[in-house]
Structures are given as structure tokens and as C-alpha cells.
């Protein structure tokens, strides 16, 4: 009984996700328009460090920004991965 009810609610969640995806289209369009007009490049998720605020624009030496032995110390650095090109030279 519980499993059947849970499955029904999960189906409802799928419908909710699809409905919200369509209903909030305008909201996403507003954000996309802002990105286009202001020529923005990144999401505003972490404002604690410049390379966390704009990960796509960060230079390749961000981890040693203060001096050569200065290790990464911002919490955002443990959440987000460095870009692929840091590991694989020439990778996009």
C-alpha cells in the first residue's frame, strides 16, 4: 500500500517537474536575456573569491594566488572541481 502510494507520489513529482519546467520558462528567459545583454559568463554562486565567482574566467594559477606555497583555502574550492583543462592539457 505504502509502496503504491509512494510510486504515485513519485509520478506526481515527475509531472510537477515537467509542469514547473514549462511554467518557469519565462524566468529562465529573463536570466538568459540578462546574460546576453550584460555579457555575463558565470553563475553567481560563490562570492568569496574571484576564481569561485567566475570559475570559467579564472586564470590557471588561482590555487597559488597569494604566493607559490599558498594552498587553496576558500570553502568553495572544496566544492567545485578545477576545469578539465587543468588536468588534461589542450582539453576544452
Amino acid at each position: 500500500m505504502y509502496v503504491a502510494a509512494g510510486s504515485l507520489v513519485l509520478c506526481a513529482a515527475f509531472f510537477h517537474a515537467a509542469y514547473q519546467g514549462a511554467a518557469r520558462n519565462a524566468e529562465l528567459e529573463t536570466q538568459a536575456a540578462l546574460v546576453r545583454d550584460l555579457e555575463l559568463t558565470d553563475l553567481c554562486l560563490f562570492t568569496e573569491a574571484r576564481y569561485a565567482r567566475h570559475p570559467s574566467q579564472a586564470d590557471l594559477h588561482s590555487a597559488f594566488q597569494d604566493h607559490p606555497l599558498s594552498m587553496e583555502h576558500f570553502p568553495a574550492g572544496s566544492l567545485i572541481q578545477p576545469q578539465r583543462m587543468m588536468f588534461v592539457p589542450g582539453a576544452p
Binding site: 509512494g6 513529482a13 524566468e27 536570466q31 540578462l34 553567481c44 568569496e48 570559467s56
Partner: protein, 376 residues
């Protein structure tokens, strides 16, 4: 007949589970927590990546930075003229943007110049996060300190809509003369260059031409920007992998406990069932349904709680981790998205191994003589 038999076995299984209510409830709670944690991380990163790819698809086609000693350097105007000569480039613009630390609230802002916004000197537009941090409203005066220590009062002309916080929370938009006055950027210099390319297929070629003409520059294509958000929240990296490892280890312990053997009560139960005429296949079927009921209940509850957590409470449990040292944090609600592929992965990683783990020891117990099982 077959359906009736299954129903009877399921009825018996549920009453058997009820007899060990405490143990099974604890098991379901731990199991639900593991699924909840895994699903929350999956839903959050997937929705964020999806939103990033949707919102940033109109990001500049190509950004060109100038590098000096491993750091960004201002780009002189003559670089724009060089880039303009490259075949296939349709327009070139110098961007002006930078970071401003506000000692009043301890927050970092991103200050940008926009020609489209059409600001008169002295007017600014701020993001909702900035307005919230400074408790500012439209038409308020917003004082910024310039590079040489002077203070300039700006008037807030507009506040960007709160539903765009994910991209604009920390923005301050101002006119070019104001920007140069605040940061002391000399005329004829820009933070970086953005350009449009006539044929999207030629972006890579244009980027390599820029590097050969201006070796101290670094081009960043829109594809790279989008790829960045695909990789930065990859489940294989960062804190996500720590959460996943912890959750998976917890689950392995639970499954191992199950698989390593049955309690004497459970063995006795199997012995009695065999003695009253149940066949080994019936016992296995009962254990299969037992594993299925526990794991399906936990899986469904965990998934639904994770959905509510991520999309209705804006991942409230993750917020302290995400905020880190940021004073200014955007308030955003992710657009709900459920990926059947991810759900299937989670299902096969949790429900299937657990169900199998409950059957194996039962098969061992069910194949031994009932008399010796009951006496053990």
C-alpha cells in the same frame, strides 16, 4: 492462483516485518537517509548544471583575456584593432568589469559596465543580493570608495529582478566614466575583450589565430564556459565525492550486516516455516519480498524527501556548506528536474544489491534441515 500465492506471502512478510518493528524501522530510517543524501546531491547538481547550460547559452561567444605573470592584465585598445582584422570576426567589444570589496558588510560585489543599460553618470543598477546586503531600495544613495580613497555617492536607479539572482545577485551596473573613476582604469584599457564570430564553426580557428597574433592572450570560448559548469559540479569531484563515499560506505555496512547472516530468530522462523511445509523457493520468495518492501519504501521515501529538500526548500541543508565564507549569497529556487536515468542508477545501486543481500543468507538457512535450524 499465482497472484493469490504472492499476496499471501506478502501478507506474511509484512506481519513478519511487524514482529521486528524496532529493528526494521531503524533499518528503513538509515536506508532512507542514505538515499535522501545521494538523491539530494544528484538532484541539486543536475538541476544546477541544467540551469547553467540553459542560462549561459547566450554568454559571449569568445572572451579574450590578457595574461601577465600568471595574472589577468588590462587589455589595451590596440588589441581590439588586431582582433578585428581576423577574418570571420563580426564584432569586437572591450568589457569593463571588476570586483569591489564592501567593508561595510564584508561582501564582494561584481561591478560591470553596460552600454545597453544606458546609465547616466551617478546612476547604478544593483542586484537583489546587493540590495539585501545593504538594505537598499530604489532611489537610495549607495556610496562607493574609489581607488584613491575618495567616496562617490551613487543613486540606485533600478534593482534587478529577484528571479534572476542566480546570475545577477552581486552585480552593480554603472556607466563607463563612473567605472574608470572608481577603479582608476586608464582610458583606452579594458578588462577583457568579447567578440562575435560569423560562423560558429570557426570559433576554434579564430581563437587560435588570436593566440598566434597576440601570444600573451588567453581566449575562452562559450563552449568552454558551458563545459566548466558541466565539470565543476561533477559528482566525481569536490565535496560531492566525500558525501557519496560516506553514504555508500554506510550502505555497504547495512548490506554487509544483512548478508553476513541471519539472527537466531530469523533462522528459527525459517526452520518453522520449512517444518510446516514451506518449500525452499517459498522461503526465498518471502525474503525477496521482505528485501523489496524495505528497500522500495526507503528508496521512494528518500527520493521524495530529496525532491522536496532540493526544489521546495532550495536545498536548505546544503546552504551552509554552499555559502562558505560568502557574505552575499543568492536566494534562488532551482527549476525542478527529474532524470529517469539518474533515478534508475540510484535504484540499481541501492534496491537491487540490498534485495540480493537479504536472499543469500536465507537461501543458506532454508537449505539446512529444519530440525537443526530450530535447535541452533
Amino acid at each position: 492462483m499465482w497472484v493469490q500465492k504472492q499476496r499471501n506471502i506478502i501478507d506474511f512478510t509484512i506481519s513478519s516485518l511487524n514482529r521486528r518493528k524496532g529493528k526494521n524501522t531503524a533499518l528503513v530510517l538509515v536506508y532512507t537517509l542514505v538515499v535522501f543524501l545521494l538523491a539530494s546531491v544528484m538532484f541539486f547538481t543536475q538541476a544546477l548544471k541544467r540551469e547553467a547550460s540553459r542560462v549561459l547559452r547566450d554568454a559571449p561567444e569568445l572572451v579574450v583575456q590578457r595574461m601577465s605573470a600568471g595574472r589577468h592584465e588590462l587589455v589595451p585598445k590596440k588589441y581590439l584593432a588586431v582582433v578585428e582584422t581576423i577574418k570571420g570576426v563580426s564584432s569586437v567589444r572591450g568589457r569593463l568589469w571588476g570586483y569591489y570589496y564592501d567593508p561595510v558588510v564584508g561582501a564582494n560585489y561584481t561591478i560591470i559596465v553596460s552600454e545597453e543599460a544606458g546609465h547616466a553618470p551617478g546612476d547604478i543598477t544593483v542586484g537583489s543580493g546587493v540590495a539585501r546586503a545593504r538594505a537598499a531600495a530604489s532611489s537610495d544613495i549607495f556610496v562607493l570608495r574609489t581607488y584613491d580613497g575618495a567616496t562617490i555617492p551613487f543613486q540606485i536607479k533600478n534593482i534587478l529582478p529577484s528571479d534572476s539572482e542566480l546570475v545577477s545577485s552581486d552585480l552593480i551596473i554603472m556607466s563607463e566614466p563612473d567605472y574608470r573613476r572608481v577603479f582608476g582604469t586608464a582610458a583606452g584599457y579594458f578588462t577583457d575583450i568579447t567578440l562575435k564570430v560569423r560562423n560558429a564553426k570557426e570559433v576554434g580557428t579564430v581563437a587560435s589565430k588570436i593566440v598566434s597574433l597576440l601570444p600573451d592572450t588567453r581566449p575562452i570560448t562559450r563552449r568552454e564556459i558551458l563545459r566548466t559548469y558541466d565539470s565543476v559540479f561533477d559528482w566525481r569531484g569536490g565535496l560531492v565525492v566525500v558525501i557519496l563515499t560516506g553514504a555508500v560506505l554506510a550502505f555497504i555496512i547495512v548490506a554487509w550486516d544483512k548478508a553476513s547472516g541471519l539472527s537466531s530468530d530469523e533462522k528459527k522462523e525459517i526452520g518453522i516455516l520449512k517444518a510446516v511445509g514451506w518449500e525452499t523457493s517459498d522461503v526465498l520468495l518471502m525474503k525477496f519480498w521482505e528485501g523489496t518492501v524495505i528497500s522500495l519504501c526507503s528508496f521512494l521515501t528518500g527520493i521524495l524527501l530529496a525532491y522536496v529538500h532540493v526544489f521546495f526548500t532550495s536545498a536548505a541543508l546544503f546552504a551552509p556548506v554552499l555559502k562558505g565564507w560568502s557574505v552575499l549569497y543568492p536566494e534562488f529556487r532551482l527549476v525542478p528536474f527529474l532524470d529517469p536515468y539518474q533515478l534508475a542508477t540510484l535504484f540499481f545501486l541501492s534496491v537491487v544489491p540490498y534485495t540480493v543481500a537479504t536472499i543469500v543468507p536465507s537461501w543458506h538457512a532454508a537449505t539446512i534441515d529444519p530440525d537443526s535450524v530450530m535447535r541452533s
